[in-house]
Structure formats: C-alpha cells, structure tokens
C-alpha cells in the first residue's frame, strides 16, 4: 500500500522530491519553500483562472490582425483568421490555429475548473484520470502562445508602407495575457491534492 509523505507526517519538496520533517521551512537540498499542502493554493488557482477568462473575452471580440493593402483594410479576429485560412485551402494550418487558439484555451478553462472543483467530488473521475488531465493541461497550455507569435512575425515582416501593412490588434495583447494567466492557474494547482483522501 502506497502512503504519501503527508500521511507519514513528512513533507516532500515539490521541486526536487527530497523529504523533510514537517517543521522544516526550506528544502535543504534545493532551497525551495516547503509546504505539505498550500492552504491558499486553490484560491490562487481560481484567481488566475478568473483573470484568464476575463481577458479571453476581449481576445475574441476585438481584431487580432489589422491588414491594410492598397485597395482594402481588413480586420480579422482569432476565429475569423482561422476561417480565412480554411477558405484559402490551408485546412491543416487552419486546424493548427483553431486548435491552438480556441480548442486549447477553452478546454483548459474547463479542465482547470473541473480539477479545482473535483477535489470534493472525486467520484466523477479516477485519480489516475485526473492526474493525466492535469499533465495534459500543464503540457499543452503554453502552445496557445502560437497565435501571438504568428501576429508578431506577420507584423514585423509585412511592412510595405503604402502597399501592404499588417498591424497587431488589441486582441493580441489580451490573448497573450489570457495564456499567461491560465499557465499561472495551472502552476498554482497542487497536483498532490488529487491523491489526498
């Protein structure tokens, strides 16, 4: 039968795994702050989650890219950009953009909320499934930043003053913030609590 460091009356370091007596404040091996379980961890998760959700709204309403050519001026939102790519026949790339900037962020909001709530309702999903879900959220979250980089590259590349210019829209800022905030939310979550009884 596996026991946790907490059940053995000990504290494990989250960064390096070294085990300490409960009255030790800093890990003697790597120097990280030790806590058996962070009492405010869940509150921090919800705070970052909410902040991320709030800035994700303008990220979808406002334009991400402002394209100006001799004849026209177009503004495209995140979803609009993906649809446009699809219509040009680049289904694969459109899919990458759509997954990175819509599916992953929305999925992440749901997954983090679920993990934070299911600490009380653990019968909905086995511990192993929750563990895997968290691993996926942690691994995949940063990839949403793709769209921000695409805008940065396009804006720096397409600069032919009168003929064609691409400028970043305000959604680029709010989307970048949303990705950063949800990454913080995931990092504030203490995965050890999944296994606590």
């Amino acid at each position: 039968m596996t026991i946790s460091a907490r059940q053995a009356g000990l504290v494990g370091c989250l960064r390096c795994g070294r085990v300490h007596l409960p009255d030790v404040a800093l890990c003697t091996r790597c120097g990280a702050a030790l806590s058996s379980r962070d009492p405010n961890g869940l509150q921090r998760v919800w705070a970052w989650w909410l902040a991320g959700l709030l800035v994700y709204i303008p990220a979808n309403l406002y334009p991400m890219l402002l394209t100006r050519t001799l004849t026209q001026r177009t503004e495209s939102t995140i979803i609009g950009g993906a649809v446009e790519l699809f219509q040009h026949g680049d289904a694969g790339i459109a899919l990458i953009v759509f997954v990175a900037s819509v599916v992953i962020p929305v999925g992440k909001f749901i997954a983090i909320a679920f993990l934070a709530m299911s600490l009380e309702k653990r019968h909905l999903m086995t511990e192993h499934a929750q563990h895997r879900l968290f691993a996926v959220v942690e691994f995949i979250g940063r990839w949403s930043m793709i769209d921000v980089f695409v805008v940065a590259i396009l804006a720096s590349l397409v600069r032919f003053d009168a003929v064609a210019t691409i400028n970043p829209g305000i959604a680029a800022v709010s989307f970048a913030l949303s990705v950063a905030f949800t990454m913080q939310a995931a990092q504030s979550f203490d995965p050890r609590t999944i296994w606590d009884d």
Binding site: M1, T2, I3, S4, A5, R6, Q7, A8, L10, G12, C13, R15, C16, G17, R18, V19, H20, L21, A25, R29, C30, G31, A32, L85, I93, I96, V97, H131, A135, E138, G141, R142, W143, M145, I146, D147, V148, F149, V150, V151, A152, I153, L154, A155, S156, L157, V158, F160, V163, A164, I170, A172, V173, A180, M183, Q187, P191, I194, W195, D196
Partner: protein, 228 residues
Amino acid sequence: MPPRAAESSFTAHAVPLAELRACPHCDALHRLPQVQPRERAVCDRCGSVLIAPRADAFTRIFALAATSLILMGAAVFMPFLDLSASGLHNRASVLDAALAFSQGAMVPLSVAVAALIVVIPALRLMLILYTLAPLVAGRPVLSRARQAFRLADRLKPWSMAEIFVIGVAVALVKVAGLAMVTPGPAFWAFCALVLVTVLQDSFMDKEQIWQAIAGAEPANDAAEGAQP
C-alpha cells in the same frame, strides 16, 4: 529497458530521511532505488519518472547547452526571413519580430514576446551552464548554484523558442499568397536550436543533478543547507 517501479512498501521511520523521495506529482513516498545509467525508476502510484540518470550526462548537457547558446546568438542577430512582393523587399530578424508590438499600448507585449522567445531561453541556458560547469570539471559548485538551477527549472514552461518555430511555419503559410518568403540563416539556426534543446532535455535528470549539486557544495554552503 522497462522502467522500474520505485519501492513504496516499507516502514517510513526505519529509513533515513535522505534516502526517501516524495513524488513531486502525487506525494507518494518512496525509498530511493539504486538506478544504473539508462535505467529509470517511476512512481509506484502515478507513474511519473523519479530518477533516470544518464552516463556522462553533465558533459553532454553542458556541450548541448553551449551549442544552444551559440545558435541563439546567431538566430537573434542574423536575418530571419526575407519577404519580397512585387519588387518590394523586407527582411526581418527575430528581434524585429519581438519588437513588432513596439508602438503605444503594445509595448508590454513586445517585452513579453522578447522575453519568451529570446531572453528566458538564453537565461535558462546560462543558468544551466553556470550550474554544470564545475560539476563537469569535478570541482565544488559555484555559490548560489542551487538557486541558479532552481530558477532554470522554474523558467522551463516560459521558455518558448520551439513554439515560436511553429508560429513561423503558420506565418509563412499566411503570407504565402501575398508574397515570396525566403528563410534566412537565422531561421535554420532556430530550427537547429529546437532540436538541440530536445536532445538536451532527454539527458536532463533533475534528481541526478540535485544529488550532484548537494554532493559538490562548498563547505560553508553545505553547512548552511544542513540547518533546518
């Protein structure tokens, strides 16, 4: 070689604390197993890798990190992409891409992009070199090596060079209809950088490095670390 499950059934109090490890992902308590290079020990409960040492790991990581840093230098300052459309030319470096948001309200985003694709990856590489250089030479680690390696570990999710490379691929497709794009030397440097980073991560076993740091600490640091 199949991963070995670390031993987890024992009386915790009969084992010295230094020989115990708590899984950082699920807190399961294990007795640290003896593991040969290329073997791995995984958590009995959640399956996370606890220890996976590699032979000559420090020399290899050091060499790969130094290579990455040189590639990073090349990637930042050389031309990255060259765009030509109906007689007009524009070339952009990675720095231009990072500074694309440098007007008005977009400035913080410019700083953030520069940090994510250049500053943080480069800083991480330097911290790893700082930690490992004395270990490669078989000498005591430099002061604050623990802080340096801990910071390198913390910055890992924020180091986004590889995501930037995929972003470039997407951007190329987006402008393909509008103009001719030719990748410059910096583009290839960035691609090589990503491959070298993947290789470097495959040699990086944190448990092995923490053990080495703890075993090679200068006298006064070790005394300080021993205090509760």
